[in-house]
């Protein structure tokens, strides 16, 4: 378990540019406390996804420091960043979160297959990875009869909830959601966020939620506009 007193994300003077492009991110200061639920907004192209990629350890900062769950990502080797992501970070994307060739339960339990820690924590909750996946899916409102269907036959709302279950299995320290509701009908958005927030709360998982729908931010502890903390301007927004 992540110690509760340690900050989930701490970045300072974080600079990043895609190869051959101008700097997209130049962030003075960014902090997410343990278990905190943060809403991140910003126009399209402003670098929100890029920032999430940095925090997720898939991208490496040009300069500056970035600590995630106590690990100095800017100093770690790629393999150690991959390990941290596998162990402690769950992702939900805007769309196409699931592997079309796996069933619903395997899509969820797959997150335990690349991390012993997540598997151990899943097994602390339930008798097997599959049982834990099913438990989470039920909490997120996926009925048992849906578990048998190929994931391609689920609605987008259902797919996003399956993706949420996968991000949550094994209680990671941080859940990163990159515009997970923008493909949903507005009626479903609030419901999805409620479920997500409730599950993060019960698992003690911090939530970094990106959306440009500002009406959603009421559900969060805190709201950040990327353009406020980023010293460069977005390229096409």
């Amino acid at each position: 378990m992540v110690s509760a007193e340690r900050a989930t994300v701490e970045a300072s003077n974080l600079v990043f540019a895609w190869p051959g492009q101008e700097t997209v991110l130049n962030i003075d200061e960014l902090a997410v406390a343990a278990g905190e639920r943060v809403f991140l907004s910003g126009p399209s192209g402003s670098g929100k996804s890029t920032l999430l990629g940095l925090i997720g350890g898939v991208l490496t900062p040009r300069s500056g420091t970035l600590e995630v769950l106590g690990q100095p990502l800017h100093e770690l080797r790629a393999s150690d960043r991959d390990r941290l992501r596998a162990d402690e970070i769950g992702f939900i994307f805007q769309q196409f979160n699931l592997l079309p060739f796996l069933d619903v339960v395997t899509n969820v339990s797959l997150a335990c297959r690349f991390s012993d820690r997540r598997r151990d924590r899943a097994l602390a909750q339930s008798s097997s990875e599959e049982a834990e996946a099913t438990r989470l899916l039920h909490h997120l409102g996926i009925d048992s009869e849906l578990l048998m269907r190929p994931v391609t036959q689920l609605s987008i709302g259902q797919q996003q909830r399956v993706a949420a279950a996968r991000a949550l299995i094994g209680s990671p320290g941080l859940l990163i959601a990159d515009e997970p509701t923008s493909a949903l009908d507005s009626g479903l958005r609030a419901q999805f966020i409620e479920l997500l927030v409730a599950e993060c709360e019960s698992a003690g998982t911090a939530l970094l939620f990106v959306s440009h729908d500002l009406s959603l931010r009421t559900q969060f502890d805190r709201s950040i506009r990327l353009t406020d903390i980023n010293r460069t301007k977005g390229t096409d927004g």
Binding site: L52, G53, G56, V58, R85, L99, P100, F101, L110, R113
Partner: protein, 423 residues
């Protein structure tokens, strides 16, 4: 489940999801490797089959013609003799002190498509095949009377003959010979055990039998108004005047070359002696070009199969960038992506090559009888030999090597895309 097992599971499920392409790819690998293995199998098996048929014989003697021709007609029942040898020459050479045994051979007749060979009982005593195996009888014994016959295993089986059955021998070697020696039938007195050599497809009779059915013939046709009954024929002197060829076993191998030279320079008539192993080598030399061409063609087919696999995997790569990003997001390392793509290639290749081995084994089982009947080639039905395993292994290795390319591309993409694939 360890991450390696997970990668294999993902590869399997992902292939199963693209079943149609996967099956086609597997089939193309299976067929191409079956072709390669089949060509190799026929090549090695015909060689060892031919070799084992003549393994006990030191020299084959016949009228002077081509070495290979003599070898083919005398022991493999392929092609036909050009000329005869006189009985006198045979006696003289067979009587040489270095000669241990001799087997006379008289060819030219047939029974329902099977060749008839006239010989004497020394054949059953001295002939050796597959290194040192003797001919043995499944039923009955060697011929004694003039109109006795001993059948090879296939002859008896395919024609359903039992001991005591009467058979009629036809003139000429064709299956549909019209001139039958039907007034002088032969009685089946023995059936040989299976040998896996052309002996299985031979009808054996005594030299006197051959002489007897031709007694009232001359110049290859029935002499008009001169027909003799079977009883009348037995009164005649049935000592043959000529035979087609004979096999020699020597007391010591050392004498082989000396005797061969002597026979080749035989003053009374133009004779030729060949050493079976040497002539077989000449035969292989002759068909070597064809073999190499066949192997080259089947190698090209294998390469085409591998290119098919490569294009199938490469095509899938674009639509699967998203999958790779998902895997990266849940903690898969770049090497997992590399391993995933390589094991997809490996799975396709392993299944394909295994299917190819099964195919070639099944096919050799199905066609063994036909090859034997049609071409006199004896293909034993057996597991792949060491060379075939080597070939199968090479195809596999090549498939792995080939699938490294799309794997590497997927790996590079996964690193460049990060988590944000824009589609």
């Amino acid at each position: 489940m360890g991450s390696a097992a997970t990668v294999l599971m993902l590869a399997r499920e992902s292939l199963a999801n693209r079943r149609a392409t996967a099956i086609l790819t597997i089939l193309s690998i299976a067929i191409s490797s079956a072709l390669l293995l089949g060509v190799e199998r026929i090549r090695t098996e015909t060689r060892s089959g031919f070799m084992s048929t003549v393994s006990g014989t030191d020299l084959i003697v016949g009228a002077r013609s081509g070495d290979i021709n003599l070898l083919l007609y005398s022991v493999f029942r392929i092609g036909s003799p050009t000329n005869n040898i006189t009985w006198q020459s045979y006696q003289e050479i067979a009587g040489q002190p270095v000669v241990d045994w001799s087997i006379p051979i008289s060819l030219g007749d047939s029974h329902r498509g099977f060749r008839v060979m006239g010989t004497n009982t020394d054949y059953f005593r001295y002939y050796r095949y597959k290194r040192s195996r003797m001919l043995t009888f499944a039923e009955g014994q060697a011929f004694e009377a003039v109109f006795d016959t001993v059948l090879g295993a296939d002859v008896a089986e395919e024609l359903g003959y039992r001991l005591g059955e009467q058979i009629v021998i036809a003139h000429g070697a064709g299956a549909t010979s019209f001139i039958q020696h039907d007034d002088k039938p032969f009685t089946v007195v023995g059936i040989l055990d299976r040998t896996g050599t052309p002996i299985d497809r031979t009808v054996h009779v005594g030299l006197e039998g051959i002489e007897a059915i031709h007694a009232d013939w001359n110049e290859g046709g029935r002499a008009p108004g001169q027909s003799l009954s079977a009883e009348e024929v037995l009164e005649l002197d049935l000592q043959p005047e000529a035979i087609t060829a004979f096999l020699l076993g020597l007391k010591s191998r050392v004498a082989t070359f000396g005797l061969q030279r002597k026979i080749n320079e035989y003053p009374q008539e133009p004779l030729m002696a060949i050493i079976p192993g040497v002539t077989l080598q000449q035969l292989w030399q002759l068909i070597r070009g064809v073999e190499v061409a066949l192997l080259a063609i089947s190698l090209c087919v294998v390469i085409a199969g591998l290119i098919g696999m490569l294009s199938a995997i490469l095509t899938s790569l674009g639509e699967r960038r998203r999958e790779m990003a998902i895997l990266r997001a849940i903690g898969a390392r770049p090497w997992h992506i590399l391993a995933l793509m390589t094991s997809e290639g490996a799975l396709l290749a392993v299944i394909g090559v295994s299917l190819g081995i099964a195919l070639v084994t099944g096919l050799s089982f199905l066609t063994a009888g036909w090859l034997k009947q049609r071409f006199g080639i004896f293909l034993p039905v057996q597991w792949p030999g060491p060379i075939e395993w080597l070939f199968a292994g090479l195809v596999l290795a090549a498939a792995l090597l080939v699938s490294l390319w799309p794997a590497w591309r997927a790996y590079r993409n996964a690193l460049a895309d990060g988590l944000s694939v824009r589609i």
